[in-house]
Structure formats: C-alpha cells, structure tokens
Amino acid sequence: MSEPSAEWTPDHGASAERTRLAWRRTALSAGVVVLLAARPAFDPDAGPGLWITAALCGAGWSALVALAYRRARALRRRPPHPGRRSITAYAFVTVGLAALAGVIVML
C-alpha cells in the first residue's frame, strides 16, 4: 500500500503542505493553553501542586510538538501515508491537557 498506485494523482505536495501547516498551527494553539496553564504557577503564593501541574502541562505540550514534528516528517513521503497513531496520541494528549487544566482550576 506504500506503492504509488496507478491512480495516484500527484498534486505537487499542496495537500501535504496544507496538512503540515495545520499540524504546526495546532501545536501553536496548544502553546496558548500551556501558557495559560503555567500562569498561576508564577503567583507568589503558588504551591507545589500548581508547579507540578504546570510542569506536566509543559511536558504534554512537548509531546504534542514532537508528534506534530513526527507527522510533518512522515508527510514528506510521496504519496504520504494516512496518519494513524500520531493522530490518536494527539487527541489523547489534548484530553490530558484538559484534565490538567481542570486540576489547575480546582487548586
């Protein structure tokens, strides 16, 4: 299935490029979430709970950036494979960020 099939229409990478940009954009949006999540940790009365959750959010963001980078590299193949695990992992890390954000709101 990695073989370019007979009906493979080359589109000179336009859709792969758009997809790559979409991955980058998504990782950048996640950056906003992480900045907001880290903000309370810089409060003078912030406790270790906030520090740890903010650090975990940062780790989650690193994971998202790494996944986006990995997928963007995989898109360089022609024709690119449909995404698989990176996509699922991305969704689950996003859910994890939501859960951590919930902890930050409660603390």
């Binding site: 299935m1 792969a16 999540a37 698989r84 969704a91 996003t94 939501a98």
Partner: protein
Amino acid sequence: MFGGLRQWIDPEKTPTVGRTPDYRFSLANERTFLAWIRTGLALIAGGLGCAQFLPPLPIAYLREVIAVALLVLGGLVALRAVDHWARTERAMRLGEELPGSRFPAFLAVIVALGALLLIVAVLLQSPR
C-alpha cells in the same frame, strides 16, 4: 463509539476488505481532525482564561463551573474528533457513505446556552 476503539489505534488494520483511499482525501480528513482539535484547545484555553481573568461572579462558584464546563467540553471535542476521524477513514476505505454527525449542532447549542448564562450573570452584576 467504543466498537471502533481498535480503529483509533490502528485504522489501517481493521477493515481488511477496504483499500487505501486517495491520499488527498485522507489528508483532508486529517486536517478536519486538526481543526476540531484546535476547537477543543480553544475551549480549554477559554476555560483557563475564565478561571483566571473573570472577576468573582454574583452566583457562588459560577466562574469555576463555567471554567470546568468549558474544559470538559474541550476534552469531549478532542475525543469526538478522533472518533469521527477514524470512522471517516474507515468509511473511505470501504467506499461507504461518510459518517454524518449531530455533534457540531450539539456543540453550538451548548456554547450558545453558556453565553446566555454569562449574559445573565453580567446583567445581575451591573446594577450594583
């Protein structure tokens, strides 16, 4: 939703009868997924922003409730995004009709209700 759980992890394995669709359709499906993820991330950012930047509202804990509701909605959007992506991928492989979804309408109604709630809260606060 959970019948397709294996498909989330390996959508290429499950439908052995199917064939790899035109990669441009797969990539379009992937971009739709990413757009939904961005929607979810925006909701999460909104939840964090509510908790950090709203003044205490007239109803006790309303601010926290709104924030947590937005966060839950954001997580739900991300889960639904991966489910919808996997089902679309599968439908494309099998040459079936693409799956429809009521989720966008549901999300719109929930967000509109939340906005109404906030308007009520602001109106309650302003006479002071």
